[in-house]
Amino acid sequence: MERVVIVGASVAGLTAAETLREEGFAGEVVLVNGERHAGYDRPPLSKAVLSGRLPPSELALRPAQFHLDHRLDHRVGVRAKALDLRGRTVLLDTGEHLRFDGLIVATGLRARPLPGQPALSGVHMLRTLDDAQQLRTDLLAASRVVVVGAGFLGSEVAATARELGRDVTIVDPLVLPMLHQLGRDVAPGVLRAHRDRGVDLRLQRVVRSIHEQDGRVAGVTLDDGERLEAQVAVVAIGSIPNTEWLEGSGLVLDDGVVCDEFCRAGEGVYAAGDVARWQHPRLGTSLRIEHRMHAAEQGIAAARNLLGARVPFDPLPYFWTDFYDVKVQVYGGINPDDELTLLSGELEGRSFTAAYVRNGVITAVLGWNAPRQVRRQSSLVGQRVDALQSLAGAGA
């Protein structure tokens, strides 16, 4: 193998490149970076960057000399347009046909717009550093903000906008914020956190139309006819895997790049990060995970397996979200209708930990302002529910 091409230079792509070198790969590594910035950390975009606490210069995923030290041919602001699997080339938007022996697909996601969303000043989505900076500029000039979507991103943006002193209304079609992500027993705590800070919510509502005045957003109208005035509307309703460039290539695409348990999508072709749908060996199901930790872990796994390690990728999923003074951390995978068992604290208290149980097996543990405790409980995931009894018996 003489040349590995990595398409995507965020967490998964960069970590894969780094791992190739650490594992002794001495050939060429080309890193195709569709953004105009070297890889940067995204979770702070909706929080510390948006609030102004963290300057963008602090976001770099790797030091400036990293690309040189690791002998990476780093193509900044260049996108892959097509893959020729048989010819072993990637077509770039510069017109170059880049030959490869090994390929790692790490093209990530983009924000999902509302159906018919107008390209209007003041209407924002948040995925990139440029998005965050533009949103911050508009937020500072606004008094009223509508956030569409009460998932992680929407709740975090709403919290930050509130902390900046803006009037904030969240609109979401579900009955509770983060209902799908945290389940019916924990989601009420998210609702309480928003209300305690004076954020309005319009639940079980969808945005029907966005209004314009003098070329800028002026407000939104909901499905029940209510009109909310706003100088800024943030659309945070999920994301779309960046796989269009792979259509017709012969790789299997199904809400992501379909891979086996080794993150392998085709002969010498692997995928990692938000864009990869792989067969989880322990869970026996296909998963695509859109979390920060996972991108690093899968970048490592894909690079090693491309080099011949043949190790199934079998991570314990982990995610977190921060809003107001709340930090929620989850190990494992939550189904919204799992049964909840408290492990410590009270659901309405400042801090608690809990286990999610399905068919007698612990599917996830969650910490609400309990980082150290939930990390220690993470080994419960995958165990039978009896493990909770012995935990209680041990006074943990």
Binding site: T15, E18, D41, P43, P44, L54, E58, L59, A60, L61, R292, M293, A296, E297, I300, Y318, W320, D322, K327, Q329, P371, R372, Q373, R375, S378
Partner: protein, 77 residues
């Protein structure tokens, strides 16, 4: 453990953590429990030793790579 305990020519790794970037994920503790811990109240990283000798280097480098906040940095001391 002091640095003078290492034989001449051994590369010692010095660890830096950024408490302001830390998000309390605890992945560093899982990777290298001899080196990292977390504060009970907010989960922010606590460095148990800021220099490590070669046997611990691989686990510290794993922590650097997995940290979801890019809050750990190492240099050869």
């Amino acid at each position: 453990m002091t640095r003078s305990a290492f034989s001449k020519g051994t590369i010692v790794i010095k660890i830096h953590v950024d408490e302001h970037k830390c998000v309390g994920a605890g992945q560093c503790v899982m990777a290298a429990p001899q080196v990292f811990d977390q504060r009970e109240e907010d989960g922010v990283v606590v460095l148990l030793q800021d220099h490590v000798d070669p046997p611990l280097e691989a686990s510290v480098r794993k922590a650097v790579k997995l940290c979801p906040a890019v809050a750990i940095r190492v240099e050869e001391a």
